[in-house]
Amino acid sequence: MNRINKKLQEDKKLLSIYFTAGYPNVDDTVSIIQNLEKSGVDMIEIGLPFSDPLADGPTIQTSSTQALKNGMTTELLFEQLKGIRQSVSIPLIIMGYFNPMLQYGVEDFCKKCQKVGIDGLIIPDLPVDVYNDYYKTTFEKHDLINVFLITPQTSDERVRYIDSVSDGFIYMVSSASTTGAKVGFGNEQTKYFERIANMNLNNAQIVGFGISNNDTFTQATKYAKGAIIGSAFVKYVTNNNLKSIPDFVDDILKSK
């Protein structure tokens, strides 16, 4: 069974952390992953940097631009991840835009993912239909889960459709926004969380966007199986030593 599905069976709320590979320094990838696992994080999203990240706000844009300047490439990321499964056992997901994967070759990309021990992919600009028609069999052949997104604007009908083609979890974008744009949740989010929770979907939901501290983590996981922190963590590693990553994670999980 894929590590993601195994993790989702655990009787706890899950914390997933996103970071941009190659940032702040090109060789930080392995150290960040190891520190996150050591801190008690349940799942990690490794951001493959892209020159034009449409769905991301300034924090992740800046980290991506810097990572590319630092020399990060798809090939280098796979190189860095080569021995990762000797020291890390939590699920690892690569999150990135479709064009770099297309240039690498989708089949080769999936093959490499499986080889280094990646469990899933999040590709915001790969539409569900295109995935189903052209890439699903390739992903499945390499035991990769493709995670789809829903937003407050996604209709019930489309949520059902996305649920029907998902395996693992659904990435629930908390508000109509780019990453890091909004902090905290209001009435609209609560209504949306309740709406989705009441749909009794087949797949678990993990909430992302707008989560930055214990308070927002607790609110999101009241309705969902877990939550994802991205921009807040990228900001944290910008300003702090990687060795202090456990402090960041402790703050998120403190009163759980």
Partner: protein, 393 residues
Amino acid sequence: MSYNIDERGYYGEFGGAFIPEMLYPNVEELRQNYLKIMAEPSFQEEFHALLKDYVGRPSPLYFAERLSKKYNTKIYLKREDLNHTGAHKINNTIGQILMAKRLGKNRIIAETGAGQHGVATATVCALMGIECIVYMGEIDIARQAPNVARMKMLGATVVPALSGSRTLKDATNEAIRDWINNPVDTHYIIGSVVGPHPYPDMVAKFQAVVSEEIKNQLLEKEGTENPDYLIACVGGGSNAAGTYYHYLDNEDVNIIAVEAAGLGIDSGESAATSVLGKEGIIHGSKTLLMQTNDGQITEPYSISAGLDYPGVGPMHANLYKTGRAEFIAITDDEAMTAGLELSQLEGIIPAIESSHALAVFEHKKFKPEDIVVLNLSGRGDKDLQNYIDYFKL
């Protein structure tokens, strides 16, 4: 085989809508409604009335006698430079503002490179009394001050794009991000035949008025609707799409697409996407784009701010791939020389984008009896400083 869009939103293998789920409702709303709205008689009536009385259409199809004599062929110029705001861009913004109104949107966003599309968008927003926000790369804002002032005078807010390379592609990213953050009340007026389906088709259909007029005007002047050649410059490709539209599937008419070679194809400073690009995804569309081996989008270069886009519309990617159109790359120097030549032979100062199209006559020999129609997509007023600097006028 048709060179027009298919029911899935593709031109051959190019096109589609590679968008994040956050944009799905916006794009889907447009996709489900655009053809229906465009077919409404009241829409067509309003669209054509504005094109006639506000834009000044039909634009003349002018027989350029002295230019024809020099190149020993029959050259007609489609005078889009005479439109209100000085270029073909306004055909699309008029269409899209009427679309936005019918979709019940009360906030308009747009991207702009040199500022021409930004001005055309700010103009129609002023006309309709709708809020207008234009994203423009920080670097472009600095080098296109007069157009920034125009947009402000028209009441638009110009927001600098500070991300990435701070030029057109980044302004487009920022506009898309704005749309993600404002999914309900906002319509995004894209300025070219790029972006996710249905944008390339919708923009092409609004610009198609150009080839519709060419057919009628040519019939009157030459007794045939069909020229032997159509020539247009291609950045994203909206003036070209309009020029070709009604001739796409008529293979008696040869199509020439002119790209900006910048300092030369192999110089590293070029915008000739068909030659230098590879298949990939840019701004939600599968097309040809300039990128590194690792799939990172690169920054193109051309002396013409309207042609330095790293991608090309999916219609044109397909015209290139299938060989339906002949693609010619013109350098900065060739374009500037052609611009000066038209000024002095015909008394028309062209936009530098259009000067690229004009430079084809030095590149390719036409027969004396050939009828060649060239889209003079814009006037040169905005480029005067460039011409002054280049020719030390």
